[in-house]
């Protein structure tokens, strides 16, 4: 069995980490390399960098960030945010990213999933889905969750798998930031309808939330941001808890 993965997510704006680790004196504020090295040292299983740059120039710096990080950190690196073309994907992979994550552009141009998977392999195409509870189930939202699409999450997940996505990063818009727990129902529904691994995101507040989303939601990995950055839990604490509750961790 593959170990359950614990994946820190870092927001990067114009080449600097924002909302990063809140630890005085330990880390130079905003340096992506330092953050990556810190979490790698804590035995993070992978890293996700989400580019939230507002400008095209800012986006370009992501390639350099990836280059620098992959020179010192030898764990898988996923990059998301603002990727709209095969050229974007290629640049990031060449710079040292292992996977890229697409969200809005996957909905707008589903062909990008297919072409990306054909050219670079399914294992490097992650489709991020932001889901919001609706009358009939869950609705896919794009543009940072602001724009509802009318597409059903379950159907979209099945479709992106068919197009060649190698993994689904599923975020609950309703639960994100609440620390009240993941959307177990939505995660389970997606996991039961695809064969690819599902990474759960949005809502974790306690260790129990995390083990529950794996056990009941059938997630293969948990993506965490502020809980880790604000040092509410360390990766070791999360993994120890998983181990004590019968889940395999590295």
């Amino acid at each position: 069995m593959a170990a359950i993965r614990v994946i820190p997510c870092l927001d990067v704006k114009e080449g600097r980490v924002v909302k990063g680790v809140h630890f005085e004196n330990l880390i130079e504020a905003g340096d992506p390399v330092e953050h990556a090295a810190f979490y790698s040292g804590e035995r993070a299983d992978e890293l996700v960098f989400l580019d939230i740059s507002a400008t095209i120039e800012g986006r370009k710096t992501m390639v350099d960030v990836v280059k620098k990080v992959s020179e010192v950190v030898f764990i898988p690196l996923t990059v998301g945010g603002g990727i709209t073309s095969l050229q974007d994907i290629e640049k990031l992979l060449k710079a040292g990213a292992d996977k890229i994550s697409i969200n809005t552009s996957a909905v707008k141009t589903p062909g990008l999933i297919k072409e990306g998977a054909e050219k670079f392999g399914s294992q490097c195409i992650v489709v991020a889905i932001d889901g919001k509870q609706s009358a009939s189930g869950w609705e896919v939202c794009i543009e940072s969750g602001k724009t509802p699409t009318g597409i059903e999450v379950k159907e979209w997940a099945k479709k992106v798998e068919g197009l060649g996505a190698g993994e689904i990063l599923l975020t609950s818009i309703d639960m994100d930031g609440t620390q009240k727990g993941y959307d177990i129902q939505m995660t389970r529904t997606v996991a039961d309808n695809v064969r690819v691994p599902v990474i759960a995101s949005g809502g974790a507040g306690t260790l129990e939330h995390m083990s529950t989303i794996v056990k009941e939601g059938k997630a293969s990995a948990v993506l965490l941001a502020s809980l880790l950055h604000f040092r509410k839990y360390t990766i070791a604490e999360i993994k120890n808890y998983f181990r004590e509750h019968g889940l395999e961790v590295r």
Binding site: M1, R5, D45, F74, I75, G96, V196, P197
Partner: protein, 206 residues
Amino acid sequence: MTGIVNYGAGNIHSVFTAVKTCGEEPFVIEKAADLKKAAIVILPGVGAFADGMKSLTESGIIEPLITGIKEGKPFLGICLGLQLLFSHSEEGSCGGFGLIKGGVKKFSFADRAFRIPHMGWNRVKISSPGETLFKNIPDCEYFYFAHSYYPAPENRRVIIGETFYGNEFVSAVRRENIAGVQFHPEKSGDSGILFLKNFLEGKWLR
């Protein structure tokens, strides 16, 4: 010098920096002529079997590469680079290098708990005790995997590592000067770097 074969889509940057971290001076093999400079060859690679064969053939690298390996050049295949060593694959109808007898098969499980691709960290059980490629690496250490196909060698004697995912599958092989791993040592943290160091040191060569 250690040459890393570039044959299109694939994360060669990570392999390059990982080899550098091991204290070696890597360079990128772009065409057949570059192979001569390489005392050691690493074939990384992600993506599809047929595409890999196609681009290696089109660049003219494939024949001198196979000749070099047959002449005894130390070789490491990673992920797709390992799979290409085999005779054939269920992924596409074309043959591989044929340097290790056997095929490459697709994962297929009734149990949905085993997701496909096999993505993430899993244990490698060392099948041949004392294997120098795993020197200083504990048995059943975790390495990073990302694949939907796995190698099935005909001769069990080439197997040096196995991993459980739904079934036992072969995750590391060695035949004479040829080594191959299904996991990504360049993405497997300290253990991965140790494995690469062992490979580059060359003590595993008889």
